[in-house]
């Protein structure tokens, strides 16, 4: 199997100068620039959150919260990375927080011998069973591996950017990707059997 991530188009984003210009305009309170930023990155953030396993019922709010965080942090964007990388990093942090929150809630329910929270309802817009299975398998990966796999294989982010988002060296990113793929394939084989 080839590396789909390498062939997928990288997320749409402007050049570094254009990014800096857009951010500067947003900071000045330019509504058009802010709308432009949202239009460009909201579908990406939403897709990333879906792939990362944020449940359908939390996704919309999570996406909004990511953009609130983006806005609040605009003053700290120095242009050292692409804007898309920076936004992915915020989204990843947020997705991780949601995933932890769900885990804690589930654990507490178990400890208190209550009814565990119901599994997330399937997204009616995602009727493909294939996609549902993929989501299920990806959700079983550890957060670090999941992040790298989602960014590279689904989002089409180049590995050097993936490394920046994950906050690890490039080789570590490759390594996590390798293990994530292997685990995914193993889980898929097991499921087929």
């Amino acid at each position: 199997m080839n590396t789909p991530g390498l062939m997928r188009a990288a997320p749409t984003g402007g050049s570094l100068t254009a990014d800096l210009d857009m951010v500067a305009r947003c900071r000045r309170g330019d509504g058009v620039a802010w709308r432009g930023l949202y239009d460009r990155y909201a579908p990406i953030v939403y897709r990333f959150l879906s792939a990362f396993g944020v449940p359908n019922e939390d996704r919309e709010d999570a996406c909004q919260e990511v953009f609130v965080a983006v806005y609040r942090s605009l003053a700290r964007f120095r242009g050292e990375a692409r804007l898309s990388t920076w936004i992915y990093r915020i989204a990843a942090r947020h997705a991780g927080r949601i995933s932890r929150r769900r885990r804690v809630r589930s654990l507490l329910s178990t400890l208190l011998v209550q009814q565990p929270p119901p599994p997330p309802a399937p997204d009616p817009s995602e009727r493909s069973e294939r996609l549902q299975i993929l989501d299920e398998l990806v959700s079983k990966l550890s957060p670090k591996k999941r992040l790298v796999l989602v960014l590279f294989e689904i989002e089409g982010v180049p590995i050097e950017e993936v490394a920046k988002i994950a906050g690890c060296p490039e080789n570590t990113a490759w390594s996590r990707l390798h293990y994530a793929r292997a685990e995914l394939m193993a889980m898929a084989k097991k499921r087929v059997r």
Binding site: M1, N2, T3, P4, L6, R8, C26, R27, G29, G31, W34, R35, Y38, D39, A42, P43, Y46, R47, S50, A51, E60, D61, C63, Q64, F67, V68, Y71, R72, S73, A75, P118, P119, A121, P122, P124, S125, E126, R127, S128, E129, R130, L131, Q132, I133, L134, D135, E153, I154, E155, G156, W174, S175, H178, R181, A182, L184, M185, A188, K189, V192
Partner: protein
């Protein structure tokens, strides 16, 4: 490419399947409505947070205190006292903190209104009137024949259940910027559902807006220069030169609350709002008498009054025309005549605001009376003609059940698929999910058991769980509707 950069070996079929799944995941994205709702939530930029490392601890304490204060304010039940406006001093309930200076009110009937910082809304004869600024409404689905009416200058905005906004803009100003007595410009934009704009003076419909469309009163369309000379009087009956544009408007939406919020407002002024006494349309003498007759149990009298009222024009006549069918069906037990009356309504008002209600009433009545052929024909016609209707999922589910009752699982599957494309109503989606699985099993499709399992995963305590479990073990058969 190093081995590390390649996928591990696996069966070709499995690799291809994984690849397809990843491709599908890459194509996944939010729909337009989700994006618009998201934009609504963040439309107005907030001042970026400035953190100073040297004051972290103090900042932490201050933030904690602020959060505690905000939390207590959030939890503390509060009401906003509002100015006197001629119908008694009333208190509007602020449901939740609306962002950035706007105020959220809940009116009777569950209607949510969000007034911007300088919006002015009054209640006149039981219906809201917007005098300035922008107010956005979220109107739950209304009882047929009882639309929600908002007045703005010389216009009436009539809705059944939708999300929309009205902006009364103080464009009629003189050169010093002070307000003149002229009529202000009115703008309406629709997020969901259908909204009609009527000219109050002539009872004439000026526009029928679908989602994404907006309407502006003539003086705004003409972009008249500011100044006393440019102030237009109340719209003359012969000048319906308003514009409808399809330009999407920005809305603000917080979390899952189904309320849209106001944008930045043009006209300054105090916030004036009240609890609405009745969000229904201002009643005419006949409609009041008809309702009174119904309340008194005199259905024949109500029918007579509604029939007389239906001979007129305007929204009251249109409502009455629909009500005739309702009285015949619900009060007089004449379903066939009711269907005929609703068909009469459709003929008289092919694009009427109650058209969908009439269609749905006809279909439901035909099903109830056992005329399944006619019901199916009506349902299919509805599904063909109304691709964007919010009632589509219900009707598709109904059509699916009717097909299934005939043993036509193939057509039933197609109908259930339409229901599954919607996210609500939940019970219709749940039923369609299960019945789709049942149909697949009945057709001998290998995916039937999987579909039943998917149902059980999605609805572990669903009402079809027993039958679904039977389907997964191969022991079930499609239940009858």
């Amino acid at each position: 490419m190093t081995p590390q950069h390649r996928w591990p070996d696996g069966p070709d079929e499995l690799s291809a399947e994984l690849r397809r799944a990843l491709d599908e995941a890459a194509l996944r994205g939010p729909d337009d409505m989700t994006l618009r709702r998201g934009w609504s939530a963040i439309a107005t930029p907030m001042p970026p947070a400035r953190t100073r490392r040297g004051f972290w601890f103090a900042g932490g304490v201050a933030t904690t205190a602020a959060l505690a204060l905000a939390g207590s304010l959030w939890l503390w039940p509060h009401a906003t006292e509002l100015p006197w406006s001629g119908h008694g001093k009333t208190v509007a309930k602020a449901e939740s903190p609306a962002p950035l200076g706007s105020r959220r009110l809940t009116l009777e009937g569950g209607v949510e209104a969000v007034l911007g910082r300088s919006s002015v809304m009054r209640i006149e004869d039981g219906a809201p009137r917007i005098e300035g600024g922008e107010v956005r409404f979220s109107v739950p689905h209304r009882q047929p024949g009882h639309p929600f009416v908002v007045r703005a200058e010389g216009y009436r905005v009539v809705v059944v259940g939708t999300r929309f906004g009205i902006n009364v803009d103080g464009k009629a100003e003189d050169k010093t910027g002070s307000r003149t007595d002229g009529q202000k410009a009115v703008g309406v934009d629709v997020d969901e559902g259908i909204v009609e704009v009527w000219e109050a003076a002539t009872q004439r419909r000026l526009a029928r807006l679908t989602p994404g469309e907006s309407w502006q009163s003539p003086d705004v369309a003409a972009e008249a220069p500011a100044g006393p000379a440019a102030v237009e009087p109340a719209p003359a009956p012969s000048v319906p030169a308003a514009t409808i544009s399809t330009q999407a408007r920005m809305l603000r939406h917080v979390g899952k609350h189904p309320t849209a919020h106001a944008l930045a407002l043009a006209s300054p002024g105090e916030i004036t709002s009240e609890r609405a006494t009745s969000p229904a349309e201002t009643p005419t003498a006949e409609s009041t008498a008809a309702r009174a007759a119904l309340a008194a149990g005199d259905a024949p009298r109500a029918l007579q009054l509604y029939r007389a009222l239906a001979q007129g024009t305007g929204p009251s006549a249109e409502n009455a025309s629909y009500e005739v069918g309702k009285v015949l069906n619900e009060k007089l037990g004449q379903p066939a005549n009711a269907v005929a009356a609703w068909r009469g309504y459709r003929a008289a008002h092919p694009d009427g605001i109650l058209r969908v209600e009439a269609d749905v009433s006809i279909i439901e009545t035909l099903v109830r009376t056992g005329d399944t052929d006619e019901a199916l024909s009506e349902a299919n016609d509805f599904l063909r003609r109304r691709p964007g209707s919010e009632r589509r999922a219900e009707i598709a589910r109904l059509a699916g059940d009717l097909y299934r009752a005939r043993g036509d699982c193939r057509h039933a599957l197609a109908a259930y698929q339409i229901t599954l494309g919607a996210s609500r109503p939940r019970d219709a989606v749940e039923a369609a999910t299960f019945h789709r699985a049942a149909c697949l099993v009945q057709l001998g499709d290998a995916g039937g058991a999987d579909a039943a399992r998917a149902y059980l995963r999605a609805y572990p305590s669903g009402k079809f769980r027993g039958e679904a479990a039977a389907l997964t073990s191969g022991g079930g058969s499609a239940p009858r509707p």
